[in-house]
């Protein structure tokens, strides 16, 4: 699948395109198929996202998982600070990142 990601302009938070808006959680990401570039253009123009780009991902039972390690780390947080990731209470949350 193809997933659209970027950063929120005022906060810098990592965000994922859900089909109707932007979520902090990769699990909400939808398959943009070949529409990624045009959605990115419109959303960037409206300043609802900053520097958006399309990536490859795999849809698993737990949700989309980015193909590249960089975006997997973006999706959760730094691998060296589990306490600062999106799921600080779950020690196994990062098992799919590396």
């Amino acid at each position: 699948m193809r997933v659209l990601t970027g950063n929120d302009l005022p906060t810098g938070d990592v965000v994922w395109w859900t089909g109707s808006g932007w979520s902090r959680h990769i699990e909400d990401a939808c398959d943009v198929a070949d529409q990624g570039e045009s959605i990115a253009h419109a959303e960037q123009g409206a300043r609802r996202v900053n520097v958006p780009y399309v990536i490859d991902a795999t849809l698993t039972a737990d949700g989309p998982r980015p193909a590249h390690i960089k975006d997997r780390i973006r999706a959760l947080g730094p691998t060296v600070r589990a306490d600062l990731t999106l799921k600080p209470a779950d020690p196994m949350a990062g098992s799919w990142v590396i």
């Binding site: 302009l9 810098g12 938070d13 990592v14 300043r47 520097v51 193909a67 780390i73 060296v80």
Partner: protein, 543 residues
């Protein structure tokens, strides 16, 4: 240390308002990200993997307790309770919101701090010797020139859109603790017939194409310094390559036209600009010099240290250096605990270091390019109480310049440019070599790790250097040996094919085994490597 006058303060305050206006225009859509990016970068604001990152300037690595406390305050109020000290003697916050950035800069400005020119294709924060003003081997305090250069380079109208970033280091001793020869311009201050001046080196750098700088002038006096650098920079701004970002640093210009031709052009330009009266008068040099006068040392401070606590004695031997004043020592606080993140400090640790500096080090701290903190002027009589407080806060690893005192860039855990993670490697290596006696037996061994070819982790200058690369989406690490950023400067050479994460930790261990088997007399790792060459290490790694 230097204190702002009304002009310096007004400059920084105005900058805050300028950036507030630029952020407002960006959030309102009046400027695009493409146009905003160079503006935010010139205020040290990056967009990284998880958030914006703010790099705060610590000019020549010197700061006082009030400034240090402010860093802790920003970490608590706007970030996530910690900061990362960098190889350019600065500090980075990893979790900044764009909308908060103007307020953060306004808070920093209240303690004479800013983030000006900590990124962008301009003259970056001037770096220097962390022992400046304290080292026993010093000719003069290099921070006087560093401060002159700070002011000259701030908002320089001609050199803010250079072909590429530009880094300057100034040292004032024979021992090079600032990797001076690996800077775009390196200055070694010297005395010639009683006159103070500097030897000028140009064209060093790490990155994709590491190079050691060339000596361009053996002596430039204080009254010619700014004109001479103006000439150096103008030749670069006019002729440095702009067609290829990877060939845009001044080192490539020198490599392509040769140091002789560069020198000739600089000397011609110098004649032209010297006539313009760009250099400040001696009174300004004297004004700045006065700020760096030695502190009021206790005249009869005791030289003896009670070494009855063995852990303390080990720390004293490893983490203190000779001070020019009898009865005093230079303390390095290691930010490299076993399994820790090199250069990271919590807000509480930052506050503690500030308190110790205020109480025991004439209110001064330094940041080192090796990502540690220095208390420059400590009475030997106070060392024990300082050590106890550091130890209680996890700040007393006795490992300065040992194998666990690793330089590591933030790598792929934080940085959008990275190809591989750096921090986990540093953690694993320090865990593998956790035994302090083993570390001391190995002795001085500088391990430096970069997560991409930009070499923020100085891997080219590592006795053992490690470069993370992306091999078809998998992290892979190239090992190199024999680099040095010190006065015996050299560039590390790659050993051969790369390793995976655990493999490179094993490889580091094999390299130390070869060294221990081969070393003679008091040889450091680097000395043995230089004597026996790469082959025995290759044999152990790949044979």
């Amino acid at each position: 240390m230097y204190k702002y006058d009304q002009y310096d303060q007004q400059m920084v305050d105005t900058r805050v308002e300028e950036f507030r206006d630029q952020v407002k225009r960006r959030l309102a859509g009046q400027i695009t990200e493409d146009q905003f990016k160079p503006l935010r970068l010139m205020n040290g604001l990056y967009l990284q993997l998880h958030a914006y990152m703010l790099r705060v300037a610590i000019p020549y690595g010197t700061l006082d307790s009030r400034q240090m406390h402010m860093l802790a305050h920003v970490a608590r109020k706007y970030d996530r309770g910690y900061g990362h000290f960098t190889t350019r003697q600065n500090l980075q916050f990893n979790w900044i919101k764009l909308e908060d950035a103007p307020d953060i800069l306004a808070e920093l400005a209240t303690v004479e701090m800013h983030a000006i020119q900590t990124s962008g294709n301009c003259i970056r924060n001037i770096s220097s010797d962390q022992y400046a003003g304290a080292a026993a081997d010093e000719v003069t305090d290099p921070r006087v020139w560093a401060e002159l250069l700070r002011q000259w380079s701030t908002f320089h109208p001609e050199f803010t859109y250079l072909p590429r970033k530009f880094k300057i280091a100034v040292i004032g001793a024979d021992e090079d603790r600032a990797a001076m020869r690996l800077h775009d311009i390196g200055i070694q201050m010297v005395r010639q017939g009683g006159e103070l001046g500097g030897k000028i080196f140009v064209g060093g750098g790490m990155g994709r194409t590491p190079m050691i700088s060339h000596e361009i002038r053996d002596f430039v006096g204080s009254d010619d310094l700014l004109s001479y650098l103006e000439a150096c920079l103008r030749v670069y701004n006019r002729y440095g390559r702009r067609d290829n970002i990877y060939k845009a640093r001044i080192k490539i210009l020198l490599h392509e036209i040769g140091p002789e031709d560069y020198r000739r052009q600089v000397e011609e330009e110098f004649v032209a600009v010297k006539a313009l009266g760009l250099d400040p008068p001696k009174a300004e040099f004297d004004r700045i010099t006065a700020f760096f006068a030695p502190p009021a040392y206790e005249a009869d401070a005791a030289d003896a240290i009670d070494r009855s606590d063995p852990d303390f004695a080990v720390w004293v031997d490893q983490n203190t250096a000779a001070h020019k004043q009898p009865g005093y020592a230079i303390v390095t606080i290691s930010l490299k605990p076993t399994g820790g993140i090199p250069g990271d400090a919590t807000a509480e640790q930052i506050d503690l270091m500030a308190d110790l500096a205020e109480r025991y080090s004439f209110d001064e701290l330094r940041v080192t390019h090796a990502q540690n903190i220095v208390l420059p002027h400590v009475r030997k009589a106070d060392l024990y109480t300082i050590w106890q407080q550091l130890d209680a806060a996890g700040l007393a690893p006795a490992n300065l310049d040992l194998i666990s005192d690793i330089i590591a860039c933030p790598g792929l855990d934080y940085c959008s440019l990275a190809n591989a993670r750096s921090i986990p490697l540093a953690q694993k290596i320090t865990e593998r070599f956790a035994d302090p006696a083993r570390q001391r037996d190995i002795g001085e061994l500088k391990v430096k790790i970069s997560g991409c070819i930009n070499a923020c982790g100085h891997h080219h200058a590592g006795h053992i250097g490690i470069l993370g690369v992306d091999k078809k989406g998998v992290e892979n690490y190239q090992l190199s040996l024999g680099g040095s950023g010190a006065e015996d400067v050299s560039l590390a050479k790659i050993t051969g094919p790369g390793f995976d994460e655990d493999g490179v930790v094993d490889a580091v261990e094999k390299v130390t085994t070869v060294y221990l088997a081969q070393r003679e007399g008091g040889e450091r790792f680097l000395d043995t490597y230089r004597r026996i060459g790469m082959e025995p290490f290759k044999e152990a790694l790949y044979g």
